[in-house]
Assembly symmetry: C2
Homo-oligomer: 219 residues x 2
């Protein structure tokens, strides 16, 4: 049966999910070009050809993984900010967003990581197909930072784009060095990052220690 025709969800959605998980894992660890259909199929004890029953091409599969990655991050950030109530302090909102993004990228499994680690190395066609989601998530951050800037609480001598990129760069790099077995939970890393980014590295009287918290379970 053609994948196009199949609309009523069936038991095979479970297999589909296993394929997506395996694809996210190899994408996050080996990169786009280093990810082969055969490797994905092998890791879930399947023949590579069988995979084409569930996805019409490698790129379609990859795209769904990447899309999921952005969506997960976006939802995590939105939820964290919403949890602060109707009119949150813009700096509190920014801080919450930073922690949420760090937790997504470090603790929510391979999807957000696959996204971050393949950024800039994808074939043009995939990039453009993915653009709209990427842009929407970018807008979330643009709004957060511009709100904080407009409130006068952020320094006015930097442009907001540089600020946004500083934040996302520092956080998106975290998967390169973060060790899940270490002493810091993803949330701990997020809170440390937020403190350093917002208040700076310099010692001041105002700086307060960041509490370490118990680690939640990752996806």
């Amino acid at each position: 049966m053609k994948a196009e025709t199949r609309r009523l969800t069936r038991k095979s959605d479970h297999t589909r999910q296993r394929i997506l998980d395996a694809a996210a894992s190899t994408l996050a660890n080996r990169g786009y070009a280093g990810t082969s259909i055969k490797a994905i199929a092998d890791s879930i004890d399947m023949q590579d050809a069988s995979l084409y029953y569930h996805f019409e091409s490698k790129d379609a599969l990859v795209l769904e993984v990447l899309r999921t990655g952005v969506v997960l991050s976006e939802e995590a950030v939105n939820a964290a900010v919403s949890a602060l109530g109707e009119q949150p302090d813009p700096i509190d909102a920014l801080r919450a967003a930073i922690v949420a993004h760090a937790e997504a990228v470090l603790g929510m499994g391979d999807y957000p990581r696959a996204n971050v680690r393949n950024f800039g190395q994808l074939p043009q066609e995939i990039v453009s197909a993915q653009m709209s989601h990427q842009r929407r998530y970018g807008k979330v951050w643009r709004n957060l930072i511009e709100a904080a800037m407009a409130s006068g609480r952020l320094r006015q001598d930097m442009n907001t784009r540089a600020m946004r990129m500083l934040i996302l760069g520092a956080l998106n790099w975290a998967p390169e060095w973060y060790k899940p077995r270490g002493e810091l939970s993803p949330g701990d890393v997020g809170r440390q990052m937020a403190a350093m980014i917002i208040e700076g590295l310099l010692a001041t009287g105002a700086a307060q220690p960041v509490r370490r918290q118990k680690q939640g379970n990752g996806r």
Copy 2:
């Protein structure tokens, strides 16, 4: 003639350099697995087989590109810090290092960029062959940050590893969004980043505007 035997440098070193440049470019733009010998050869109007006269394997070529990338960054940072004199203020040294690394990664061509963008997606054998250079450069930063920390000028409630990773993450992400034709030079970006990282994003009376300077020529 075997590459091993050839020790007296010849005219072909020019070709060798062109190959390295081409390899750095495709590595920076397409990633390790997306970089083929044929694509490199094509971009300099050569047959792929001819390339093996100059390099014994793809991995040997890639390794030399990556090594060059680290060395260029390291030299730039060391030079910038040394230029401050014998006993520089540790915060000034940190600031100078940040600017130098930004300039390397954004303005010194494809080598440092190739390094940064393939980090974490390389086959294990290449990673371990590259490890020693990476470690040495890491040590430069560790020393800078620990000196600043020991001076008491940095906040004592964060660990130095998180600080180092914040800095390098923010800077290494810059190639993903920086547009060379834009209004900011690599040095401008570096100075903005340094100011935000060191002093933080919050508005304070102490924050001073960062002067924009004329852009030097890249590599």
